[in-house]
């Protein structure tokens, strides 16, 4: 394999990693607070792709009054995409909050396996809902702007979509990180994840914090879903499963419950997977991803950035 292929695979890997990082945050955020793996999170990703696609088709259809504006100029396209992403993120964020309220909150004091099974149930429900009510076949995701190589170096090219995905991911990750570490509500989320009861005694409304986590996580997952649809050019009801499990791997790799860990894990996994696809063959990329999951669980179950603070009781 030549240098240009390696660089090209790195570029692809970082793009993929941005998407994994966005999804992984949703797993880690919820785990940090409820110690629960939200297995329905992959369906937030799928749902986001559908909502984004739906908005895109609606706003650009010939019968929509302002369609000429949205497709006519670069500015119009920008506005179009901001709307598409915002609607997908908000709609799926609300869906996430509803799911928590209906399927997880009643089980908050149940044994830990119960909400886990409920989450798997929600996942199956949502996949089948999409299959029955939308389509069983993949729907093409239209390209509104031309995806052209913008930068070329060392024989590798970076296209406009890849730059958009990586830049947006990094911005969202930075915003979330700042929100969690600096703002009052963000600190309340951290306090709740460390000791829920003590946080309640501080006057923190625990249900509000949990609802917020179930808004932010799915909203970020939805953004990743829209990116995935744009990047691969199609949306299908079963699209959430593999990226969901991969992002869960990324969250575990970084240290589940640790936000920066999830970001790091996402990018690492994306890069390793793409290199594996380049060095071996594309068929091996999933194998490599899951070998990483197994190795991490065996040798470093706390993950790369797992908590290292000595805790005294």
């Amino acid at each position: 394999m030549t240098a240009d292929v390696i660089i090209q695979q790195l570029v692809n890997g970082v793009t993929l990693g941005g998407m994994y990082a966005l999804i992984a945050l949703g797993y880690t955020l919820v785990y940090g607070i409820l110690l629960m793996i939200n297995f329905a999170h992959s369906e937030m990703f799928m749902g986001g792709a559908y909502v984004g696609l739906g908005m895109l088709l609606l706003l650009t259809s010939k019968s929509f009054p302002a369609h000429a504006f949205f497709t006519g100029s670069a500015f119009g396209i920008l506005v179009l995409y901001v709307i598409v992403f915002a609607v997908a993120a908000i709609a799926i964020g609300i869906l996430g909050m509803v799911i928590e309220r209906v399927a997880y909150r009643p089980l908050r004091h149940a044994p830990r396996l119960a909400p886990l099974i409920s989450a798997i149930g929600v996942s199956i429900f949502l996949q089948n809902a999409a299959l029955l009510w939308i389509d069983s076949k993949a729907i093409p995701f239209p390209r509104v702007f031309p995806v052209t190589p913008l930068v070329t170096f060392a024989g590798a090219s970076v296209n406009s979509l890849q730059i958009l995905i990586v830049a947006t991911s990094l911005i969202l990750l930075f915003v979330l990180d700042t929100f969690i570490s600096r703002t009052r509500v963000g600190k309340a989320m951290r306090a709740t994840s460390q000791d829920r009861e003590a946080a309640g005694l501080m006057g923190i409304d625990i249900n509000y914090v949990i609802s917020l986590a179930f808004f932010i996580g799915p909203a970020l997952g939805a953004v990743a879903g829209v990116f995935h649809g744009m990047y691969y050019g199609a949306v299908v009801f079963s699209m959430g499963f593999i990226p969901g499990i991969k992002s869960f791997t990324a969250a575990v790799l970084g240290g589940i419950g640790n936000l920066r860990g999830a970001m790091l894990g996402g990018f690492l996994l994306g890069i390793v997977e793409s290199l594996a696809a380049g060095f071996l063959s594309t068929g091996y990329k999933d194998v490599v991803a899951f070998i990483i999951l197994i190795l991490v669980l065996i040798f470093r179950p706390g993950g790369l950035l797992g908590e290292s603070v000595v805790e005294k009781v």
Partner: protein, 235 residues
């Protein structure tokens, strides 16, 4: 200030509190003593809203608060320092103190209270940027109390503040409890160390298997034959 009437709390089918009544008057130190499993912590957890009572009433300054969630009780000015400190171990000392002031927005008042906490516990100022989990047990107790004070409590409820601490540290903690009381904070203190608790309390209650067995002033209870036998290790 606080009036509890016929309070019952259950864990599943087990009735941990079988109808207890107690009052705390403004400015008092009231202590609740009793053996392991008597229901002391259950009482505090029910008062602070962490547990929902099955019957009875809790009135704080004329307002019924039984069954309110913990964050609403905190809003009323009742702050609990939980058993085992429960500080946020991965947050710094300063962040922990900030969380205590979560409901407040009076910046000047918060700043003044922070200074006050540092005066009471100079050790906390030295360890400001350290993660809570790296503090010693005594320092964690100080942090837990400092954090509660940041909420500007009118009624401070302390659950086993002496647990697991060296005698000299316990002494410091109790001196500070008395000082806080002199500064106008009403105290409800749950303790296994009955001797120490009764010696600083205005009044005390003896709880036994979910029921109030005895009540009296601190001195009366210290002098009481049954109390001496059962809780002070005499006889």
């Amino acid at each position: 200030m606080l009036t509890v009437t016929n309070l019952k709390t259950c864990y599943g089918k087990i009735e941990a509190l079988k109808g207890i009544s107690l009052t705390v008057n403004e400015g008092e130190i009231v202590t609740l003593i009793g053996a392991n499993g008597a229901g002391k912590s259950t009482t505090l957890k029910t008062l602070s809203g962490q547990l929902v009572p099955t019957a009875g009433s809790i009135e704080f300054e004329g307002v019924k608060i039984a069954g309110l969630p913990a964050h609403k009780v905190t809003q009323k000015g009742i702050i609990q320092v939980p058993e085992g400190r429960r500080i946020f171990s991965r947050m710094t000392v300063l962040e922990n103190l900030d969380m205590g002031a979560y409901l407040r927005s009076d910046k000047e008042g918060i700043k003044a209270d922070l200074e006050h906490v540092f005066e009471l516990f100079p050790r906390l100022r030295e360890r400001l940027a350290q993660k809570g989990g790296t503090l010693s047990g005594g320092e964690q107790q100080m942090l837990a109390m400092g954090r509660a004070l940041m909420a500007n409590p009118r009624l401070l409820m302390l659950d086993e503040p002496s647990m697991g601490l060296a005698p000299v540290v316990v002494e410091t903690i109790f001196e500070i409890i008395e000082k806080l009381n002199q500064d106008g904070i009403t105290i409800l203190l749950v303790e296994q160390n009955a001797n120490l608790a009764l010696s600083i309390a205005d009044r005390g209650y003896v709880l036994e298997t979910g029921q109030m067995k005895l009540t009296g002033t601190g001195e009366e209870l210290l002098a009481n034959e049954d109390v001496r036998k059962a809780y002070l290790g005499e006889g």
